[in-house]
């Protein structure tokens, strides 16, 4: 069944702009599980319920993310988070959350609607400056921060990794546009899109 899967940037894998060695690499992850989680951050039971399933409480500090093992959890809003996890664990985590949580919450599978990119290389800071007005300088945006923001003429969830690279979660329907945008913006540095193969 794996051949039935196409990630949003499937047709961009291997594309490159600029000459010479690419200084910016855009790596599209293989299909991940994306779960949108809503709940009351003041409800300790909710936070603990999530922790019991994914190993960490949803971060309640604006613009921060946390992770445990192969699951990352991003703050999207005061009562909204994104869980990123291997697709192979998605169904199990989703149903476990439903079992463990009670009261007013929601868990929605949005895996088909978005994709995870990792962007790295010397030109990344400038490429981000071309795309968004948000201040990604390390003074303002250290590793562990995430932000949902206007990106080119679409939106993206951007987070900073410990190794200095950036993760981008973008919507599927805008993926072609954003990939074209990034390749164009990265032309002066040399920019390449790499696929992560299939799960």
């Amino acid at each position: 069944m794996s051949s039935s899967i196409e990630t949003p940037l499937h047709y961009f894998h291997g594309q490159q702009t600029g000459s010479g060695d690419a200084q910016v690499t855009i790596f599209e992850s293989p299909l991940c599980g994306h779960l949108n989680l809503r709940g009351n951050p003041q409800d300790e039971q909710f936070l603990e319920g999530v922790e019991s399933v994914v190993g960490v409480k949803p971060p309640t500090t604006a613009g921060s993310c946390a992770s445990s093992g192969d699951i990352s959890i991003y703050w999207l809003g005061p009562d909204e988070w994104l869980l990123l996890l291997p697709e192979s664990r998605r169904a199990e985590v989703e149903s476990e959350l439903r079992n463990k949580l009670s009261g007013h919450f929601s868990v929605v599978d949005v895996s088909g609607g978005q994709t995870l990119l990792n962007v790295r290389g010397d030109g990344v800071a400038d490429m981000l400056k071309k795309s968004a007005s948000y201040d990604f300088h390390s003074n303002n945006f250290p590793a562990g921060r995430c932000v949902q923001t206007h990106f080119a003429k679409a939106t993206a969830l951007v987070s900073k990794k410990d190794d200095g690279s950036f993760d981008l979660v973008i919507r599927r329907s805008f993926a072609d546009y954003l990939a074209s945008w990034l390749l164009d913006a990265g032309e002066e540095f040399g920019c390449r899109v790499v696929g992560g193969g299939e799960v």
Partner: protein, 1003 residues
């Protein structure tokens, strides 16, 4: 021959000769020259013709203020109009042409056209071209030609531009002494600093200065600052970068010219870059602009600003003439005569309007043996194509009139200085009101409206020591206010400077004759505005400076009156018998200098102009040769033409296939919102016109959403997925607005309702399989549920496995046929789509696009929100009261409005069908409907056509229309007069043309 190049000195590279052409003639200059410097070096006197009078004009200034030397570079696609030669760096092969004195296409062409007509006396346009109005286009062509506008390129720009968003603690504008001191101070305090300067080199006035700082040449101090700043990772140095606008909340625009100094075009590189800067604090160290003196024939080539004469000499090694007369009202300009004398050229006289100049520079000049004519003024320049002499006359005691006969001084260069005007443009952009300062004889920046401060000569500090000190203070203050606590101590820069005497205010030099009779005295060189014109405007009753600006066009050029405005306002003030502060100044607006469209557009051009949203099946559609239609930002297949088919053929084929066998539509673009929470049902009840609370899991319901004014806002099906769990479909175009609408009511009005909304639009790919054979197709790829009508009836949904992929199937229909909408996670979208195509092959499954979708739904009379409705249509207007529940306890959104008196009018426009008399006539959408086409105008309009198609299934055209009182007018004949003169006759019929009982979708 570079006849005017002096033997040594300047910051040019004499070892690197550069060839260029001006108006077709070849010249040579040196690397480091501006075009203006090279033209002066080559003895080119005339660089343009004036806008109104066609008078010869020469180079006046040396920077952004230059009004005359406006050139067009390059040719063909690679051409740039309306550049100032004083700011164009010379490069090998540069090709320049004069554009006349007329400025640019800048931002708003209409504005340009608006004042283009003001020729000759002020108000010439209003007086001459107003009637007959329809001749304006004729006048316009003539005026354009006469004015000599720069030419916009006709081909696509081959160059690449982009935009960078910047964030910083402190933005310093200007890298002269004050700016560099400010940037250094802020950087030392730990601030993230951007310092931008429009010139190729940092240093500002110091680039042409003979002064010393800390006991060394000023440029050594500049080099030290640059080394210090350059080594700091938190500092960005932006040379060749004009801060052109200061916008709300400390947002500034910078235009960086990255390759303009290398050639006309640099494909493959970024030619210009727009920096969009959000600065916590700003230091404006934009310097000052020397003010011309207004006397007769002051526009002759060879009349220049004193500081420009010095700049060309000291910085570029160009002496712009031989025999200099300096005309000044202040001490500062004496430096020009001293520089000129030191260069071995002749200073004929210094003419100083002040009766007893005794300042330090005055004494130095006298020590060099230069003769000073105190209490005198130049009343008139003599010469035809270049200044040949200056007529000099004594002033009376209060400097209001000449007090004796004029004598002639022979000269070929007349350097003038009427003092300085602080460059307050950016400060003005913030809304700060310029303040007149009598002592400085100029406007200084008004009280700050944003997080900014000015420093140096931009604030009226004209001594070098003052600039350095103010800059240092401003830099430290800015860093502190940006939140950097690292207290930095004041820098101490030593400058040996002698105090200067006060200058004299002189805005219009007296002449023996009255202003209107004296030879023309120019105030605004670029637009040929004279002192007489301003006085005339005052006599004609114009009192406000903003009106006089528009009447005379003063300051309307691309130079925004950088040289002329202050003189012009002062002349107006005198003519009105007022002071300058009461008369005030016009407000400068962005851009400081013209900005290219390329940089404004950046990379948002061509395919990247607007996002194109694709479904997971996009590549398949492309491979099938689909034509696409824009729906919002989505690209949707419009129709799939086979070889040789017209659109009409293709749509007819697709329509017949759906009704006769089976078709398939990519419906992935519909908005989808997951709704969960204990109060989800109640919430839907409040948002929709019909009832949702009792919708059972597995069931779907069609609903209408109204705005609070009762008008239809969106429609779609909502399915109950489980207890307290729903999936709402919205229109493709309305998805984002509907989500915002739901959030608005939940968050702001009913926060007590526990419900969460999550967009899942992108998560699902949707294949709508529709037609009598739809079930047979699905049965081939889905065997885990009972697809029979009994087990899975219309308006139900089921979880199922389709082609091995977990899916949801909805039995909802927009065609009126048996429909099964297959939803799978989008990463499986293309795979499942192709499996369905395979399965449908034996039934001739036909992919169809939005056009066929529109035809099929119109046959059924199904509305499209936004096409058949326009924000003024109620459910009753659409004949859809069946979907409005009057029984619900809660007054749903829009309900109260439905009973307002206007909503109950019987003559509201109502949705009907139209059947044309000639079944082949297809009415144009938007056609107006009348009762009597022969009625004398104005003809009462009855409504308009909202949807219109040819129906291959019915064999005739069909149209939906909104007609006044239409529901009660079945069978009546109406007429649609078309633009081409034809009148189409049509009968009002039911809006449901096909299967009125709705049986086909229920099988």
């Amino acid at each position: 021959m570079q006849t005017n190049r002096v033997a040594s000195g300047g910051r040019i590279n004499r070892g690197n000769a550069v060839n260029f052409t001006f108006n077709g003639k070849a010249y040579q200059g040196f690397a480091g020259d501006t075009l203006a410097a090279a033209l002066l070096a080559n003895g080119v006197d005339i660089v343009g013709r004036s806008f109104k009078y066609g008078r010869p004009r020469g180079i006046v200034g040396h920077g952004a203020e230059e009004p005359n030397a406006i050139v067009q570079l390059g040719s063909g696609a690679q051409t740039v109009p309306n550049l100032r030669a004083t700011q164009v760096e010379l490069y090998e092969g540069l090709e320049a042409h004069s554009v006349g004195g007329w400025p640019s296409v800048d931002f708003d062409v209409r504005e340009v056209l608006g004042f283009m007509g003001k020729m000759m006396p002020p108000g010439f346009y209003y007086k001459t071209f107003m009637r007959p109005q329809n001749l304006w286009h004729f006048y316009e062509r003539w005026i354009r030609k006469a004015a000599g506008l720069g030419k916009a390129p006709l081909e696509s720009d081959p160059d690449c531009y982009d935009k960078l968003n910047q964030n910083c603690d402190v933005l310093v504008v200007g890298a002269g002494p004050a700016g560099l001191a400010a940037a250094s101070a802020a950087a030392r305090a730990g601030a993230r600093v951007i310092i931008a300067d429009e010139q190729q080199e940092f240093g500002g006035s110091l680039l042409a200065s003979q002064q010393q700082i800390d006991g060394q040449p000023a440029m050594s101090w500049v080099d030290e600052r640059l080394a210090e700043l350059g080594n700091n990772d938190n500092v960005m140095l932006l040379p060749r970068s004009t801060v052109f606008g200061y916008y709300d909340h400390n947002f500034l625009g910078i235009l960086e010219r990255r390759t303009d100094h290398l050639g006309i075009s640099s494909p493959g590189q970024v030619r210009q870059r727009m920096h969009r800067v959000r600065a916590k604090q700003v230091v404006l160290a934009t310097g000052a602009i020397e003010r011309p003196l207004v006397f007769a024939n002051n526009d002759l080539p060879g009349v220049m600003m004193a500081s420009s004469v010095s700049t060309y000499l000291n910085r570029y090694g160009v002496a712009a003439g031989n025999n200099l007369v300096l005309f000044t009202t202040n001490d500062n300009a004496y430096q020009t005569a001293i520089d000129w004398h030191k260069a071995g050229r002749k200073v004929v006289k210094i003419v100083d309007s002040r009766p007893e100049p005794t300042g330090a520079l005055v004494n130095t000049a006298r020590e060099f043996g230069i003769d000073v004519m105190a209490g005198h003024v130049v009343v008139e320049a003599k010469g035809r194509r270049r200044v040949k002499g200056a007529m000099v006359a004594p002033l009376n005691d209060n400097a209001s009139a000449v007090a004796g006969a004029a004598i002639r001084l022979d000269c070929d260069l007349l350097a003038c200085s009427g003092g300085w005007s602080p460059a307050i443009h950016l400060s003005s952009h913030t809304g700060a009101k310029p303040q007149w300062n009598d002592e400085l004889v100029g406007f200084v920046p008004g009280e700050s409206k944003q997080q900014e401060r000015s420093a140096g000569s931009a604030k009226g500090a004209y001594s070098l020591a003052g600039c350095l000190q103010q800059g240092d203070e401003a830099g430290r203050e800015a860093a502190r206010k940006a939140g950097l606590d690292g207290e930095s101590t004041a820098a101490s820069y030593q400058v040996d400077e002698q105090p200067q005497q006060p200058q004299q205010a002189m805005f219009l030099v007296p002449h023996a004759k009255s202003t209107s009779r004296a030879p023309v005295q120019f105030v605004d060189f670029q637009l040929d505005v004279t002192a007489a014109a301003i006085e005339l405007a005052a006599r004609e009753g114009y009192e406000s400076v903003e009106h006089v600006k528009r009447y005379t066009a003063m300051g309307f050029g691309t130079d925004q009156g950088k040289l002329g405005n202050i003189n012009g306002m002062a002349i107006l003030a005198r003519a009105l018998g007022r002071g300058i502060p009461e008369t005030g100044t016009t407000i400068f607006r962005p851009s400081y200098t013209p900005t290219t469209f390329g940089a404004i557009a950046g990379r948002d051009v061509a395919d990247l102009f607007d996002p194109e949203r694709y479904t997971a099946m996009q590549r398949w559609h492309q491979q099938q040769g689909a034509e696409f239609e824009n729906v919002g930002q989505w690209k949707r297949p419009w129709y799939y033409p086979k070889p040789g088919e017209t659109m009409h053929d293709a749509v007819n084929r697709e329509c017949l296939a759906v009704r006769n066998s089976v078709g398939m539509l990519d419906a992935s673009t519909l908005g989808k919102i997951d709704i969960q929470g204990p109060d989800a049902g109640e919430f839907l009840n409040r948002m929709y016109t019909n009832a949702y609370a009792k919708l059972a899991p597995g069931k779907c319901r069609y609903g209408l959403m109204l705005k609070e004014d009762g008008m239809i806002f969106d429609d779609g099906v909502t399915a109950c997925l489980g207890p307290n769990h729903y999936l709402m479909f919205t229109t493709t175009g309305g998805a984002a607005a509907v989500l915002a609408w739901l959030e608005l009511w939940q968050q702001t009005e009913w926060p007590e309702l526990q419900v969460y909304f999550t967009s899942v639009t992108d998560h699902w790919a949707t294949a709508t399989v529709t037609g009598p054979n739809a079930r047979k197709v699905i049965e081939k790829v889905c065997d885990d549920i009972d697809l029979s009508n009994e087990a899975f009836p219309f308006m139900d949904w089921r979880d199922a496995t389709v082609a091995g992929v977990s899916a949801r199937i909805f039995r909802i229909s927009f065609t009126g046929e048996l429909s099964l909408e297959v939803n799978v996670p989008a990463h499986h979208g293309r795979y499942v789509w192709e499996k369905l195509v395979e399965a449908g092959e034996e039934f001739g499954i036909t992919p169809y696009g939005t056009e066929t979708m529109h035809v099929l739904r119109a046959e059924k009379g199904f509305i499209i929100v936004g096409q058949d409705t326009d924000g003024s249509m109620t459910p009753a207007d659409m004949g859809m009261n069946w979907v409005v529940s009057q029984k619900k306890e809660f007054s749903f959104i829009g309900k109260r409005s439905l009973s307002r008196s206007d909503m109950l009018r019987e003559d509201r426009k109502q949705l009907v069908g139209l059947k044309t008399r000639d079944p082949q006539d297809v009415l144009p959408e938007g056609a107006q409907i009348v009762n009597q086409p022969e009625h004398a105008p104005p003809v009462p309009m009855q409504g308009h056509v909202t949807s219109s198609y040819y129906s291959a299934n019915l064999g005739h055209s069909i149209a939906l229309a909104v007609v006044k009182g239409g529901h009660k007018r079945m069978g009546e004949t109406v007429y649609c007069p078309l633009a081409d003169g034809r009148v189409i006759e049509a009968e009002i019929v039911s809006s449901i043309f096909y299967d009125p009982k709705g049986e086909r979708q229920n099988v």
